[in-house]
Symmetry: C2
Subunit: 476 residues, 2 copies
């Protein structure tokens, strides 16, 4: 469906922008300023009744007077005037829009609901398809497009996030960054008066730079279409979701948020299961699983190898894997002997493999490679990377000696880390790293840059592998 | 028990240090260099057979020749020579030690086990009490003492962490920092040949700067003493634990790690329940709960007020609270009217309270205060802080206009944040913040600095409140 209405919305070459002025205190101006600050390469045509120029761009009183083709309109107008703006779009032959303005169906009482119905009527009349109203906008890495009030997501080939919450798409970049994940598109669907989550699922099938999809759900408005679209999408790429409408206050909040009628937890569990969508318990797990499924090769069985340089993290990874339903089998005597021959006598080689305190990460690489190639594991979890920060205190006491020491160690560290990070793709076996630090640690940054997930707890590691195993089994 | 053996170990005025030399590549030297780089104010006496000076400090061939009183000895020696060093300590009348050396009972086969028995014999003979062997050392904020190879924990009045894993005490500082937590003491107990977790619990009762205790457990060696000590401690301060020995590979790993014989999950759940210790699912939850119990006032009932400026996070907090067994009741008409009178017409005041997109955080403060004082909630969860980063993109487009705008906003932001952060202690009602960013965001830093926890998912918020509610109920 290359001609899906969302295709042009997410990849426009030109935009008409309603609601920006030269008064920076207005929301429309904030959004357009943000858009100008992003790297959008296409044309932007402000539409303003009075101003001749908006932020140094020529402005037009109506879309009909823009003397160039316009792919998509972005509307950040007061509620009451949105229907007539849509009329203007229709007259100008612009058939795609993102309606950010709120005050529609999500407001109890009637007037907002009436205006939202009017929007839909005008759109139908002119063949206009739109996102919103009451959404926070869209982000499209490939189009260098950001119509939200927030900065750019960490972009690249990778994840698409379709969400009934704008905050979840725009205010969660730090969470993605801490995972080293890359986001290809985010779509805040708002009240879904026209295009909804089911449309997003349909559209994403053909988006080649999207390798994994996640959803934030308060309500599924068209369950049959949603399940049908999800099943098609899930054949091509993994889909993971959270649902928050399944309790009394969750449902009340959803209704006030996007006029969404939610249903019981059991009903939604059933819909997601039928649709082939993995369910996450919260946003952290949603992101963990979505990124793991985007970046790691398939996990062909239940056996996890646990590799560590420290007993507690090793025991924790083994424990959490088994609690989550995976296996951490003892290695064969032959494999144990092979590992022992490289390691100090105090090392433990049964699985977990505890190489004990070793500063040389090339050793860790060798150990990992032997295990990856042994055929005795289907995935690996690894703990034990040190960065240069480890030796920084020593430098205070040994200012002369430490320089060469730190240099040597740092080469060992970083070469070993880099080589370990390449193993999953080179050898076709998934692996993740447990680290209590995040991207502030240089080894973690290297690992993340090479597409290997780093999680801050053994439980998060195990649950991500379970999701990967489930996905791999479903695709076999 | 002010004369508990751990008292002097954790608050020494002088140390004898075995195993450091002028060769920085040795582990003993790394540890002593690290100790010198920390702020320890007491005396340090290196013990070395040949060197006259170690790192510019006068060294002594044996402890018996140190002409000053010594409170505690730290041993980082090869396994075989540790018993004779302990003999030397005994002769010198030094009766407290931290034995970091490994290679004892955790090594299968016999020799290590035999040496560990010998350690205990020598210690008994001379009345020596010790931590270890095979531990990573201790950290004591009040004594400015750090005998580990890693930097200092974020220190202060607050948490004590007693752990059968050294990595969990020393390599998790980033996790604590992301919570804004402060650590008073960490004790890596290693093989527990003498002092064990039960001793730690006994000792911590009288430590006034410890307000919350957490434990990493692979095995409880003396269950009756552990339960008795825990019960006494739990009357004074909260205790939270994780246990990783309850699966087959977890048990195998624990045995190889610290020679710990673990038991079934059910057995340990029973012990922890009898002891009055809260159980966490993983290290992230352990830290969340421990810090929440350290810093927030009691939660006197099950009712949570959810305050947000964004629908999705509000719905998520409400949903996760109810899933976790708390209540998110609708507010009275009177309270709703009061809130409505301050908020724009699009705001939702039932609970969650969605103040909608408001840049003025003094408004959020007023709303929070009204709810705190209403008597209609026992705790609050809050989402919706913006930092200056929000306007940074605008500055690129409006370099002149933005300066004053950002200045004004920034005052609003930070004054409001500061005042909200003070509410829990001022009004005696617990509150936590949901933010998808961490301490890299200035508002979060202000909140954390004032002792209010910030969590990155609604589920983490809810589970921390449940633990607080359980603790408050038990103490009623």
């Amino acid at each position: 469906v290359k001609d899906h209405p969302l295709r042009k919305i997410m990849h426009p070459r030109s935009l008409a922008f309603y609601g920006a002025s030269n008064n920076i205190l207005k929301m429309g101006s904030i959004l357009m300023a943000n858009l100008l600050a992003s790297d959008f390469q296409g044309s932007i045509y402000p539409v303003h009744l009075k101003e001749k120029q908006v932020m140094n761009l020529q402005a037009y009183p109506r879309a009909q007077e823009i003397p160039h083709p316009v792919d998509v309109a972005v509307l950040v107008l007061p509620t009451e005037v949105v229907p007539e703006a849509l009329e203007d779009l229709g007259q100008a032959g612009i058939q795609r829009a993102v309606i950010i303005s709120g005050g529609f169906g999500e407001i109890p009482g009637g007037e907002g609901g009436r205006l939202q119905k009017r929007l839909v009527e005008v759109a139908r009349e002119h063949g206009i398809r739109f996102i919103g109203p009451n959404c926070i906008g869209i982000f499209s890495h490939d189009a260098s497009l950001n119509t939200t009030p927030f900065g750019n997501a960490p972009g690249g080939k990778g994840i698409a996030f379709a969400s009934q919450s704008g905050a979840f798409t725009c205010q969660t970049y730090e969470l993605w960054r801490k995972l080293g994940a890359s986001i290809n598109q985010t779509i805040s669907v708002g009240n879904e008066a026209d295009l909804d989550l089911a449309d997003c699922l349909e559209y994403l099938v053909e988006e080649d730079n999207v390798t994994s999809v996640c959803l934030y759900i308060e309500s599924i408005r068209r369950p049959r279409q949603f399940i049908r679209a999800a099943r098609r999408l899930v054949e091509a790429k993994p889909v993971t979701a959270i649902y928050v409408g399944g309790t009394e206050a969750g449902a009340r909040a959803s209704l006030s948020h996007t006029a969404a009628i939610s249903g019981s937890e059991e009903l939604y569990d059933g819909i997601l299961r039928q649709a082939g969508i993995a369910k996450a318990k919260d946003v952290e797990e949603l992101f963990d699983i979505t990124w793991t499924l985007a970046t790691l090769p398939p996990m062909k069985g239940d056996r996890v190898a646990v590799i560590t340089n420290s007993g507690g993290p090793g025991a924790s990874m083994a424990y959490q894997c088994e609690k989550a339903g995976l296996r951490v089998p003892s290695f064969s005597a032959a494999l144990q002997d092979k590992l022992h021959s490289l390691l100090p006598p105090t090392a433990y080689c049964v699985n977990p493999v505890d190489i004990t305190y070793a500063l040389n990460l090339l050793l860790l690489r060798d150990i990992a490679q032997i295990i990856f190639e042994s055929g005795e594991a289907d995935a690996a979890l690894i703990y034990g990377f040190f960065g240069k920060e480890f030796v920084s205190n020593l430098a205070k006491v040994f200012p002369d000696a430490i320089e060469s020491f730190a240099g040597v160690q740092s080469d060992f560290f970083l070469t070993g880390v880099q080589e370990i990070a390449l193993l999953p793709k080179q050898l076709g076996m998934p692996a993740a790293v447990l680290s209590f630090s995040g991207p502030e640690s240089e080894p973690n940054r290297i690992i993340m840059r090479n597409g290997m997930p780093v999680f801050s707890s053994a439980r998060r590691c195990a649950r991500a592998l379970v999701a990967l195993r489930n996905r791999s089994r479903a695709m076999q």
